[in-house]
Symmetry: C2
Subunit: 520 residues, 2 copies
């Protein structure tokens, strides 16, 4: 080890000793803020999975209170002055040390929170909770009108939120930044545009060969109980630490971490299509595997989270698609699927299952879309969100705009709002700026997977045997354990030596779909 490095480390140790008391106080304050946030996450999980309907009204208040108090503590003068005192000493430490990262990330969060009144934060949380309840009912009855006032309230509050910030190029920037730190609307537009350009010819070529792939084995009668059992088995065989997760049923699948070793996964079941349960369980488990892999030393800090939602989705999409729709894993899954549904899979071999799982077909529902057209679903939502926040699209006209764009991008007629504009929970939950992260996820997953394939020469063999730990361990070492220390751009650079690039994803898609559909 070079003497310079030794000296630097001694200096760092000195620095830490000098500011030890203040750093401890910082950790305590951040721990409290984290606890409040995770308590809120548990209340939200409960609301979506367990809560009797009668709890809804007061639950919205309870969530709002937790959000307000968390916000007050995060935006407090005391935290600000503590961070001020720690900034200079932290800069003497290694950039990705726990301490330097803690001060840097907490400062960023503090600065953003300072701009937003605690009452607005509480109002956003309250409105989202009530809107989500209303959305569940509206979706059941395919009744957009009933949901519209809630949507209007959510958007109005988010407009007021945007007004808390300045110096941005687009009103969507501050919304996007909440999910994808330091990524702008212009960048998102470029990435999604590139994706569209790349995906479009592939979808067109496949459309001419639509009948080459038969996925009828996935459709038909699948009793929910058996599906639930199967989903439980599949998740149990994933590389999630034992005793650190549970799987429940919900209206719109999601995953949330109460801590790194208490991961709440959810899925839903369609009694006429096995794919919903299967790939949404894998998708949410991907989120869980990421959170489960964060260094336990980062628990109860703002670093105890994925780099960004894009990175989070890169892992949900990777475990859902690169693993879960890949030939090796499906060959492992095939006998298990047949064991639970012998009749349905009697005449399908592993290759048939692989082809069925990868059938490309423009469809109505994003979470059930194939790997390729999925991006068009995202693009549509992204564009509509932009138009809403540019005040070019009235919310009452949203179903019409949705349906027109579904026709244009996917060639699909939307039969009702339940399978159209009401299908996703995000707008009910007030999550504007979230959707693009799904496509970022695809892009990032493409880049990371290319690296993984190089680093793990036996990857295919391992996945075929259901040995998922080597991949998980490689991802944990390179990505998961670092939590939210780096920005998305920094992490991409560190992982790949370059910037975000759509090319690996498109290459992967061209290879995979080219093979399945025998494209030129």
């Amino acid at each position: 080890m070079a003497p310079d490095s030794c000296r630097a480390r001694d200096g760092a140790a000195d620095t830490l000793r000098r500011v030890n008391g203040r750093y401890r106080e910082l950790r305590e304050r951040l721990a409290e803020i984290s606890d409040l946030g995770r308590a809120r996450a548990l209340l939200a999980w409960d609301e979506r999975t367990m809560m009797p309907a009668g709890g809804a009204e007061i639950r919205a208040e309870q969530l709002a209170t937790l959000a307000r108090i968390r916000h007050e503590r995060l935006a407090s003068d005391e935290l600000g002055s503590l961070l001020d005192q720690l900034r200079a000493p932290a800069e003497e430490l290694a950039y990705d040390s726990d301490e330097a990262s803690m001060v840097r990330v907490a400062t960023r969060e503090w600065e953003r929170a300072r701009r937003v009144p605690a009452e607005l934060r509480a109002a956003i949380t309250r409105a989202a909770s009530l809107a989500e309840r209303a959305w569940i009912e509206a979706r059941e009855g395919s009744d957009f009108e009933a949901f519209l006032p809630h949507l209007e309230r959510n958007v109005e509050l988010k407009r007021r939120y945007v007004e808390c910030f300045d110096g941005f190029d687009h009103p969507y920037d501050p919304l996007l930044d909440d999910f994808e730190p330091e990524v702008t609307t212009a960048q998102a537009r470029a990435v999604l545009g590139e994706l569209r350009e790349g995906v479009h010819p592939l979808v067109a070529a496949i459309a001419e060969r639509a009948d080459e792939v038969d996925d009828s084995c996935l459709h038909g009668a699948f009793p929910i109980d058996a599906q639930r059992r199967l989903a439980g088995q599949i998740v149990a065989a994933l590389p999630l630490e034992q005793g650190s997760w549970r799987l429940d049923t919900t209206v719109h699948p999601f995953a949330t971490a109460i801590t790194t070793t208490d991961i709440r996964l959810t899925t839903r079941y369609d009694d006429a299509y096995i794919g919903t349960a299967l790939w949404s369980a894998l998708h949410e488990s991907g989120h869980g595997i990421y959170e489960n892999g964060i260094d336990p030393a980062l628990r109860r800090t703002p670093l105890c989270r994925p780099v960004s939602l894009g990175f989070h989705e890169s892992q949900s999409r990777m475990w859902e698609n690169w693993v879960g729709r890949g030939r090796p894993y499906l060959s492992w899954l095939h006998p298990r699927l047949r064991a639970v549904f012998p009749e349905r899979f009697a005449r399908i071999d592993a290759e048939g299952l692989y082809r069925a799982a990868n059938r490309v077909r423009p469809s109505l529902i994003r979470v059930e879309a194939d790997e390729l057209t999925y991006n068009l679903h995202v693009l549509l939502r992204f564009e509509l969100e932009l138009e809403i926040f540019e005040e070019r699209l009235a919310l009452a006209a949203l179903p019409e705009a949705w349906n027109a764009r579904m026709k244009e991008y996917l060639g699909v007629d939307v039969p009702d709002d339940a399978s159209g504009v009401l299908q996703d929970v995000h707008w009910a939950a007030g999550s504007f700026g979230y959707f693009p992260t799904y496509s970022f996820g695809n892009v990032i997953a493409g880049q990371i997977w290319a690296q993984a394939e190089e680093a793990l020469p036996d990857l295919g063999t391992q996945l075929g045997r259901g040995e998922l730990e080597p991949l998980r361990d490689w991802l944990r070492e390179r990505l998961y354990r670092h939590g939210g220390k780096l920005t998305p751009a920094e992490m991409i650079e560190r992982l790949t030596g370059g910037p975000l690039s759509v090319e690996p994803y498109l290459r992967h898609m061209r290879r995979k779909m080219g093979d399945i559909y025998a494209l030129a």
Copy 2:
């Protein structure tokens, strides 16, 4: 209406207008405190019913943070000065008005909280969470030694808690007061002594006729799935508002209200005895029916709770025993029980079920004890707790003391600590001072039931038809809806025109057991 009364009401309206802003601020502060408390309740419910084991360590911290912040807000200078300003005007209002009660009860809570450091409150919560986890394992392995350090920690913290108070006659007084406001150890000792004197001759007389009652129909093979279905049916038929409750499985049954219309009931199942599931579901539902009946206008305030734990237990015991082990309800239950377990109840008629459900037999487990010997279980725990806080009993010697007293009071040999000193969750949860409230509950239930029988001449007929609403409505009007406005002594006086009295309970027991066992 007399002119005097009109003038008083006008005066009250004036008073309210004058202090309106401050009263609104009080409600807001109290709502926040309530939200924090209910969030903590949900985290605790989750810990006991849903949480993966991996969540335990951080959950203890999350609970501690919520407890600390709630405590800080409750003990704050701001709340104190607001209450100061509202005290005089509130006293002009009717004693049991929402406003006067709010100020009075909040002042009492504020004064008690002021004495206790927030850090101690957090430490008590954290230790209890960790101890409960340890208790579950210790109970499984019947390993008191493994639990002892946690018990020691809980007791040490509760001793420090007691030291926060002064002016009491017995160190147990402040602990009891947390559950039973303004009731002293001396009073509790008197009530439990009277109970013992009254119960003893009955138990002795029954012991000579032990074989007169056969409860073998309740023992044998009862598949858990069927039990769960039955428990669900039974609770669904109780007068709980639809969509306002759920029933889950746990190690030690409990009920908790996230709000009046979000009641979490739990039970447990013994595959060799149907009584556990049955009567513990009814017991916990009794708690739920009470909370479900509190005036919704009191939600998010300190008045949104039963009068005391004694009153809470009066309702759990009433629905479990006066209703659930009564002849009319059991005649309604009988065909339903037979439908689920046809073989086991083929040769038992409703009267046989009634007798079986009321067999008196000294036994090991409190929550499964008959109505009569139950009080001896409580007495034993109460006496041990007194000795612990009088520092006359070392915690390491607790199993020995427990076993000796079980032999003395109930004539029962304790085979292992799992069915002895480790059977209850309370000491793990740090709830010292709680146990006597079960016997208070019996006593209060006896008094209330005597009133109900007079007021509802068709009660027996109604219960026999499974019509439980008339009883619920009567209880709601007289007791439930008022929440925690009155002290236990005030409420007993209002309900019965006199003080707490053991006699109605004993009379009920003498009549019921005299009938079943054909006593002289």
